[in-house]
Amino acid sequence: MEHTHIPTPISKKFFTPGVIFLTLLAANGIVFLAGRFLFGIGAVTNLNDQYPWGIWIGLDVAAGVALAAGGFTTAALGHIMHRDKYEAVIRPALLTALLGYTFVAVSVSIDIGRWYYIWHPLIMWNGNSALFEVGICVMFYLTVLYIEFLPIVTERFIGKVNLPWFFSRFNKLIDGLLRRLDKGLSKTMFIFIIAGVVLSCLHQSSLGTLMIISGPKMHPLWQTPILPLLFLLSAFAVGFPMVIMESLAASRSFGLKPETEILTSLSKFVGPLLGVYLLGKIGDMVIRETFVYLTEFNSISVLFGIEIIFGVIIPLRMFLSSTVRKSPSGLFIASLLVIFGVFFNRFNNFITAYNPPYALESYIPSFGEISVTLGFIALEILAYRLFVKIFPVISIPSEKVKIKTKYAIRGVVK
């Protein structure tokens, strides 16, 4: 078992029918995105003065951040608590977080009216604003994620720098710089790894604070002062399922053997984490007596019911069963349900629950908005596929003994 899995660039070809479909989805999104930049947000979206935020914030940003939680949860488990056996899943999770947050940043930029002022929060501070906190933390965390990814880049290129023609004279220089960078990084990486976890906890919870200020405009089933805690707990809960789902999807797509053993033992954390989240959610409901809204049968109570039953209770039961945890398909379905639950929870918090009393018309996402959202998801999957082909991210079984120890235990305290 000792180090038989080594991160390696995947050599499978890039284009498959699925990839072509995703490319089309992405292209469709980009067309509508161009419309937004040429004619304004109103030309593409159904947003109005009463519904200023739609799915670009509720899904692309809020759900995007939550579903990128695999990055910091695996970093906490693998690097901070030193559970070395989970090493194989850390790099894919890191890559997902990196791409996820990159697209979160892009989504924020396209949703704000003055995208060219995206840097304003860096110098214009408002410490009272939850959005300011989220913005700053996401910017810092994105930087940290890129730094955490750097060792994978250096590993890929050290000793392999081979520039064409004229530039070949710089090969040695660049190789030297990379080695230096690598050395510096491996000494300081623990700073960034801890910072990444702290920043994640901060903005995952602050995303929950965001909607609190909307007060009675938000339905009491979701509006609660403990929203930040619920957002944080649900982010903890969705991190590992996201990693499990991706790992299984990637092994299938690249024709590798699923790392069931690692995933099974990773999945034993999910039940308790989901349980704590459910407890918080139900406890809050009991204390604030909001369960009275569940006796009414309307779209709001139905959506809340779907979120809780299919997104939390059923997967919780599944993750507590060892039969489910030992089968790849069981793990896959249970993980998908958790992901759906958190995704849907963010949607409900930002869209379903937001009901301003004097709305002139209700908000239903436009075709353009949905296209852009789907386009971004497609682009993210394509970028993932491209990255794992270029960089040693996914661990594949290998007969060889571990070559470079220091790369595998990157970021440990020396």
């Binding site: 040429l38 004619f39 003065d49 009463q50 704000i112 009216g113 009272n128 959005l131 790894i193 930040p228």
Partner: protein, 296 residues
């Protein structure tokens, strides 16, 4: 030995994070911090809706004062428009609606210029500020167009230019800040032919409103809307019925940004919680590294 220490640390970590999360949700004080230096002399407007005749001249004057597209004066006397439940938008910073079903008269709506504005607290770059004279104003040089002020506003007032690709603005009543700085009244107050709008310091206006209620108890519903709602607003309303519900949302007397600001300040109290979590995680990282070596 190593195993039990690891477990202990794990629990410690759990307690630490929960603690940090909990400090974040315990409201320390319910008063928002942003506008604590409210001037005693801040101005306001008292709207006496029992006097309003629904002529919509205030809308006309407002559009003129802000250099918006203005229709001809006569076209504003139009019952059809009056009966539509309109909201302030990018072309009308103030609107007059007729609340017939509720047995109410015509009511003028615009930004309430809260004493503890949710929009000011929410704004990511601090582009919205409560001025000393009571006006809540927006700064085009800072705004990034995120529309969080619109999410935050309890009265659903700010409007956004959705159809502008470049430099879309947030638009709302600015209390005619340019006119008042020249010593003039706000445009709507100046033009009102029946003196339904009274401009003055907020204190004077509250005294005046209470005097009217006392002198004409049959004419007024005994409540000055805006005196206490969400911590108080600069615009105050008198009416013959309760306005909370049909015209304005039912709001508590706590400042709108209170809860979210105490959470924010709890999470970042002198940066202690983040630094504590950082130190805790660093400790765990260091100690678990040690136990691993011991075990090997």
């Amino acid at each position: 030995m190593g195993q039990s220490r690891r477990n202990f640390l794990k629990q410690l970590a759990a307690i630490g994070t929960t603690g940090a999360a909990l400090t974040s949700v315990t409201p320390k004080n319910s008063i928002a911090k942003s506008s604590d230096n409210l001037s005693e002399e801040r101005k306001g407007v008292l709207v006496d809706s029992t006097v309003c005749i629904g002529c919509r001249k205030c809308e006309w004057a407002c559009q003129g004062a802000h250099e918006f597209k203005q229709d001809s004066f006569e076209n504003y006397q139009n019952d059809e428009t009056l009966n539509k439940m309109r909201r302030p938008d990018i072309n009308n910073l103030t609107v007059v609606n007729k609340y017939r079903d509720e047995g109410l008269r015509t009511i003028k709506l615009q930004c309430m210029h809260c004493d503890y504005p949710a929009c000011e607290s929410a704004c990511i770059v601090g582009a919205i500020t409560k001025n000393e004279n009571g006006a809540v104003v927006w700064d085009t040089d800072k705004c990034i167009g995120c529309r969080y002020c619109m999410v935050a506003c309890p009265f659903q007032i700010p409007a956004f230019e959705y159809h502008k690709a470049l430099d879309p603005k947030i638009l709302k009543c600015d209390f005619c800040i340019e006119r008042t700085s020249e010593g003039k009244f706000p445009a709507c107050v100046s033009i009102c032919p029946v003196e339904a709008l009274t401009y003055g310091t907020r204190e004077e206006l509250i005294t005046e409103a209470k005097r009217r209620i006392k002198n004409y108890p049959n004419k007024y519903y005994d409540h000055v809307f805006g005196e206490y709602e969400i911590g108080g607003t600069s615009w105050l309303y008198l009416a013959d019925k309760n306005l909370a519900g049909p015209v304005f949302p039912k709001l508590s007397n706590n400042p709108a940004p209170g809860v979210s600001e105490s959470i924010q300040h709890g999470l970042f109290a002198y940066f202690v919680p983040p630094i504590a979590v950082y130190a805790l995680l660093g400790g765990i990282m260091w100690l678990t590294k040690d136990t691993k070596k011991e075990n090997q």
